[in-house]
């Protein structure tokens, strides 16, 4: 069970219709690769965020598979077209079954 996991996102509050906005996301997470060993030589079990998705008004924007080589606190920055006012939904899936969610509203302006 990963501890201290906290998602963060940054989305502009407003955008013009059809504008591409830059979205930044970060989730604090250890991203234990499963390749390391502890002092006694036992393998530390893998514990990573394995999938990250972003949807806008129910339509998928981005769907990412994360692999063990991705370092701690994975950060994603991407662009999305905003055709109308609505809500971005962000979802992170943990190896341990936990799902972390966040959402941000964006208005036309």
């Amino acid at each position: 069970m990963a501890s201290g996991v906290k998602p963060r996102v940054k989305v502009p509050k407003t955008a013009a219709a059809g504008e591409a906005v830059t979205i930044k996301t970060l989730i604090s997470h250890n991203m234990e690769s499963g390749q390391r060993k502890d002092k006694e030589g036992n393998v530390i079990p893998r514990s990573i965020i394995n999938r990250f998705t972003c949807d806008f008004n129910g339509e998928n924007v981005i769907d990412i598979t994360l692999e063990p080589a991705i370092s701690t606190n994975p950060y994603f920055e991407f662009q999305a077209l905003v055709p109308e006012a609505g809500e971005f939904k962000f979802t992170w899936y943990d190896d341990d079954g936990s799902v972390y969610e966040d959402s941000k509203k964006i208005a036309l302006g």
């Binding site: 906290k6 940054k10 930044k24 970060l26 606190n73």
Partner: protein, 281 residues
């Protein structure tokens, strides 16, 4: 042929100079907080320096950009952790930091004045010592280890609410003797390499030392998130690294020597903005 060699040499020379100088750039945090990264040297330095410059000006484009936005600044993750600690009850008295100090924003203006003379303790105290005084005397909690996890995170949180304010440590009055001690350390050559702080950070800032760009060694940006170890680093830890690099036996973080040195080095940056948590190499 000679002409060509000359042209190449000239290009090399200009490139070297361009690389070595601190950049001409302007730091604005989150598009609202203006940071003073260069200003006139404080009076006590007027014999040796005209201008004091933040280490930010000596770092690369990407590193500088990373610090300009709190979302991109990985140091802020640790600040957020400390903000949670701020509200968390610890110790036998059942108090948290916020029990007495309310919101952490009320601590704006504290960081720029530290280290400072503490009349009750009869010594110069750093911010971390002050935090530990609160923890042991008023919260009944255990003191945090110097420059380690919780302590450095809390110092960063306290620093973050003062960003943009000018560093203003007192060097006169009861703090003067400690300040003099720090000054003497700054100018004393140590180690097998016989280097003083001043040899690099006063005489040769702006030059390259192997692959690294020498800054003025200002600590207005501390605690600093260093890309090389992906955590917050305290000023004392950094002093220790520098002294080790002169191949000398170093003092310990939290020692009387480092407290004196911190006061002196901080005073060299009087007038620069508080930047911590900053991003450095």
């Amino acid at each position: 042929m000679n002409k060509l060699t000359g042209a190449i040499l000239a290009t090399l020379l200009t490139t070297t100079v361009a690389l070595a100088d601190p950049v001409d750039d302007n730091l604005v945090l989150n598009e609202e907080t203006q940071i003073v990264t260069r200003t006139a040297a404080p009076a006590h330095l007027s014999d040796v320096l005209d201008e004091v410059m933040s280490g930010w000006l000596f770092r690369g484009t990407e590193t500088r950009a990373m610090q300009a936005d709190d979302f991109d600044n990985p140091g802020m993750i640790f600040v957020e952790q400390a903000m949670e600690t701020w509200d968390a009850v610890d110790g036998t008295e059942g108090k948290s930091c916020s029990s007495c100090h309310n919101d952490i924003d009320s601590m704006a203006g504290v960081k720029p004045t530290y280290p400072k003379w503490d009349a009750k303790a009869g010594t110069v105290q750093t911010l971390q010592m002050q935090v530990n005084e609160c923890r042991t005397e008023r919260m009944g909690a255990e003191a945090w280890d110097y420059d380690k996890g919780a302590a450095i995170n809390m110092e960063a949180a306290l620093s973050s609410v003062s960003r943009g304010m000018p560093v203003n440590v007192a060097i006169d009055g009861p703090a003067q003797s400690t300040w003099e001690q720090g000054k003497e350390m700054y100018y004393t050559r140590t180690g097998q390499l016989e280097l003083s702080c001043a040899n690099c950070h006063e005489d040769n800032y702006g030059m390259m030392i192997r692959a690294d760009h020498l800054s003025q060694g200002q600590i207005n940006g501390f605690p600093a998130y260093r890309l090389k170890n992906t955590k917050l680093n305290g000023a004392h830890d950094r002093f220790k690294g520098c002294i080790r690099d002169t191949r000398a036996e170093t003092y310990s973080p939290g020692s009387a020597e480092f407290i004196a040195l911190e006061l002196y080095v901080a005073s060299r940056g009087n007038g620069l903005s508080v930047e911590g948590p900053s991003i450095r190499n």
